[in-house]
Symmetry: C2
Subunit: 209 residues, 2 copies
DNA sequence: CGATTATAGATAGTTATAGTATCCGTTATG
DNA sequence: CATAACGGATACTATAACTATCTATAATCG
């Protein structure tokens, strides 16, 4: 398969494929001459994953490279998990978080074990932003969110558990982390629409201007 | 309050404030002369919301303007809801979705009422991306996700219900939509970490390279 | 066989976004 | 009254993700 066929098969433009080759997201084709190479089905599949991560998951090309490298590597699964979480999260450092911010997050997370990382810091940042915006969420709302997160987190781990082999598990971790966020956000919108229309007896998302 | 004080009070640089004024995200100050104006606490608060939407919610300046306009307008609440959902979601059009894609989403959403929009289309896109990536999620996982989404969606509507007045409700819709996504993603990470470490008896997010 | 087309790889250009810097004439302030 | 700050316009910078062009070589087809 030459690059033109790879482009046709994947739906990714030729210059963009060259970009991914340059950046190391896509492994080079098998060289047949100094300036000829052939690509395989694996390249088509890889391009699909790259597009999924960047288009659906919203990852930057650099972030996508990080998690793809993690899949390919022989890193332990928990490292892959951490890398995927970090790549799929915005700035993850906790340097601008006060003790009060962290305490609020830890209170929310009570009952869960956690460590420093995207989870704890992300919760702290989101809660601080809510407080700053004057949206003090009440206990019932918080309890619902924590309950939902527990259901999902356990389901995610179960799904990974059921995969056979490190590569399949690693791919599930990466794809699941990135796409799970997108799916969850979309499901949330649908559920909001459902309960909103159920309660107000009017369509919640009429065509907006 | 002059612009220098507004900058100090909000932590947003003076040129950036001018940018937001130019783009119409921030209303102009009260003019005292042709080239003098004073700003109020409302401007500080507004800047906080702008930064929340752009920094935490990842919205573009243009998208942030859209939802801020929706808060200010007298649009019905369900329109505001739709606008916030659209602004916080990537491309929401369903033009590239096949009937099979939509059928898969509708199957997932069984039991919920929904319409065309970010929810249905987003679910369809995420599920298609998962299928493309070879991640076929089993029924247990799907059931968990739907259950979690129902819990959250209902909690969101409850929270909005408890607010008094259209403005407060509208602000809750917008902030809640944008920050809820971020909070939920972070909670998911924390929960994954919890169940992962519980199950494997090892830390799930050791410091990654 | 030879003309045309395609290829790999390098380099340069494009577009969009978000923010920054510099002017300007005017106004506040010490 | 002198200096600093102001509002507003314009121009600049940085980054990211592509896209286009170029060159020499290789494949392809009549």
């Amino acid at each position: 398969m030459k690059i033109s066929q790879l482009s046709a098969a994947s739906g990714v433009s030729q210059p963009t494929i060259k970009l991914y080759l340059r950046e190391g997201l896509l492994p080079p084709g098998a060289k047949t001459h100094a300036n000829q190479a052939t690509y395989s089905e694996a390249h088509v599949r890889r391009l699909g994953i790259i597009r999924t991560l960047t288009q659906v998951g919203g990852l930057s090309v650099a972030s996508a490279k990080t998690v793809l490298d993690a899949i390919d590597s022989e890193l332990p699964l928990n490292w892959t998990f951490g890398l995927a979480q970090r790549a799929a999260s915005p700035d993850v450092d906790g340097t601008d978080l006060s003790d009060a911010d962290l305490a609020r997050a830890d209170d929310f997370l009570a009952g869960l074990t956690y460590h420093d990382g995207p989870g704890r810091f992300g919760v702290a940042k989101a809660l601080r932003a809510m407080a700053d915006a004057g949206l003090e969420a009440d206990g019932a709302w918080r309890e619902s969110y924590r309950k939902a997160a527990e259901i999902i987190g356990e389901a995610d781990i179960d799904l990974i558990d059921r995969r056979e082999g490190r590569l399949a598990k690693a791919e599930t971790v990466v794809i699941g982390t990135v796409l799970g966020d997108a799916l969850l956000a979309a499901l949330r919108r649908a559920a909001q629409e459902h309960f909103s229309s159920q309660r107000y007896l009017s369509r919640s998302t009429e065509t907006a201007p």
